[in-house]
Symmetry: C2
Subunit: 397 residues, 2 copies
């Protein structure tokens, strides 16, 4: 387990960056409340809050359970917290004063807790720290990229299993379950994390034939049937048939870090129109990755994907059926699967070295099926490096 | 799929109950924003909000995607919503006026969205509807109990698989993965839902030997090692050995409805102290269920569990190590796994017919292991009925 702990120098760097961003905004402090942000800035996901003042040492206030926090976190100052009500007193005791202006992640903290913190910190101006935190987290360190590469290696093992287990008549969810089992044995935590409210991520986006053309609430080219209206996305009870496109979009999370990846399979030969469309998505991806490098705007990469899709004659099918196109072709990924950068319309900021994102050019043929490729990339000094090494050829079993 | 849709009479009853509770409080309306509450009151989990006025027909306002909403939901009035900003105008258009006092689930809506809704509904008093909604949802209908029974049947299949696949040296997470695969094949959605902020539920709480004594952030007698500090609960990479207690706490979610269940296994004979302790947990459960019936206070059932544990000499081990006892022995369960009622200290309200809850008397031996039983029950007219039929005997493979 020891090696799984986030190295002290990572935590120091992250907290240092946080503090300089707080200084730029003339705030006095941030209070980290969400578990993923807490993990990022402290290395632990136990029940705790992290107080980072502009001046003075950062403090982990732990509700449960301190021994484990001290083992997992490189933060030196770890104190017990019986109740949120005690926070102002604990802060005054150590720092001499409460902050004037304090950031909290208002994009994720529930309203009820926000109202309670406003009462507890009466007189403190509470501001939204979420965009600041997302901006810091979007640039990955070598350490973080290394974990994403390990996630990519697990993905390779998962996709290699498909031709061994795929059988006519097996349901999408049965295949999905087998792949989940393989992934877990190799360290996938089987729980993807998403920041958006009401959103939930899952690995098992296994769609075959017509389910690839079924839409759902998610901003994705295809939603799938899912198991029921209570989980209306991803793999369903539909049996998989021969000559259908089988699209497997499978996310892996290793030590908290995620990759997202899609590969195509079929039993027997896949009809030519699907093969051609799949080849087109690979061509679109190749054009986008050839253009992607630090300084290039995400919007421009997005536009380039669309240009190639149009040139190849896939305007109707690209990124969803005509009235339901997604607003993006790629999304940032790391501890959460909806991070910056978005390769999307109106995302007019440049790629930077260390940004990680998944590109997923996909084609939808309503009532027939979907095809597409997805890989996760890190922006390097000169271009992008692929973190998902699974074989990309269509596998006809 | 058709049969999976929530029947119209269920939706009508639920909305009717909601409206009468709104009337009692002298509010004008509720706006349902969270996906699980939306599913409960409308039958769909697509991207939509449900407006329920005191006078007038309820309206589903759909961001994406209306065709599927109309198929899944028994709510008759379904209108498109381009932006949250349009809601007041849409409401005035149909109902003639905006509400004076409107409930929103402040326990789950993010602060940022709450602040935005306050701006959008300027002049409307926004109140917290969460306790009202939780109170309605805690009483299950025959239809809901039927789905939980089907979840229980899947649990039985999962636990029956354990002796077939358990092998010395296999890791906790490998065993967990195999069971997840079996459960998914039979319809488990492999995604448990929890309402609390920063909390996440998972099926694969597979603990063997010393990991059963490892604590984590969760309010549970044992947390387990988990795969890393980024998922510090449940199954780990530890190989399972002979003569260790193997505790498998596995949740199942079928059509949105969950059950929670724990069974005990070992490879070779389990040492007598663990066997005795397991027998004690079954005795505690039997005493609690014999007492449980409508009108009996949850606190009294909780106290009875503790009395039996003390009488049998397990005060030190029951519900966690000495300084880290959980505050509950049972929790309500349904669409979320942290529903009412809690069989806990200070939960001094009576059981009512239709309440469903999991009881989980467990014993922890730090650094050695954990044992325990867990079943899900529904409160019937005369007592409780068990929804989780898997064999309860310790299985020595």
């Amino acid at each position: 387990m020891e090696k799984q702990y986030v190295p002290a120098e990572e935590i120091e760097k992250r907290v240092h960056t946080l503090r300089s961003e707080v200084a730029k905004r003339e705030w006095d402090a941030v209070l980290i409340v969400q578990n993923v942000d807490l993990f990022y800035f402290s290395g632990t996901m136990q029940n705790a809050l992290l107080f980072v003042p502009l001046d003075g040492e950062e403090t982990l206030m732990v509700k449960k359970y301190r021994e484990r926090v001290q083992r997992e976190s490189a933060i030196a100052r770890v104190i017990p917290l019986n109740s949120w009500n005690d926070m102002p007193a604990l802060i005054v005791e150590h720092y001499g004063r409460t902050p004037q202006k304090m950031g909290i992640e208002l994009d994720v903290i529930p309203a009820k807790d926000y109202i309670r913190l406003q009462e507890i910190f009466a007189g403190v101006e509470i501001v939204d720290s979420s965009s600041l935190i997302k901006a810091i987290r979007k640039i990955k360190s070598t350490y973080e990229i290394g974990l994403m590469k390990q996630a990519g290696e697990i993905g390779k093992i998962v996709f290699e299993e498909v031709p061994r287990v795929l059988k006519e008549g097996m349901t999408e969810i049965e295949l999905a379950g087998i792949l989940v089992a393989v992934s877990m044995r190799h360290g996938n935590q089987n729980y993807l994390r998403m920041r958006a409210f009401n959103a939930y991520a899952y690995s098992w986006h296994v769609l075959s034939g017509y389910t690839g053309g079924v839409l759902s609430y998610i901003d994705a080219p295809m939603g799938g049937m899912g198991l029921s209206p209570a989980f209306p996305v991803g793999a369903s009870h539909k049996p998989i048939k021969a000559h259908e496109p089988i699209l497997i979009d499978f996310g892996i999370c290793y030590n908290g870090y995620q990759i997202d990846e899609t590969r195509m399979f079929s039993m027997g030969e896949l009809p030519k129109r699907f093969k051609d469309a799949y080849r087109a998505t690979r061509e679109i991806e190749a054009a986008m990755t050839a253009a992607a490098r630090p300084g290039v705007s995400c919007h421009d990469i997005y536009r380039m994907g669309w240009e190639v899709a149009r040139r190849l004659g896939y305007e109707e099918h690209f990124m969803g059926p005509p009235d339901y196109k997604t607003r993006f072709i790629g999304h940032g990924i790391g501890l959460e699967i909806d991070e910056y950068p978005f390769i999307a319309q109106n995302h007019d900021y440049p790629l930077e070295e260390g940004m990680t994102f998944a590109l997923e050019p996909k084609m939808v043929f309503p009532e027939e099926g979907a095809v597409g490729i997805e890989n996760t990339f890190v922006t390097s000094e000169e271009g992008v490096e692929q973190l998902t090494p699974a074989e990309e050829t269509l596998i006809e079993v």
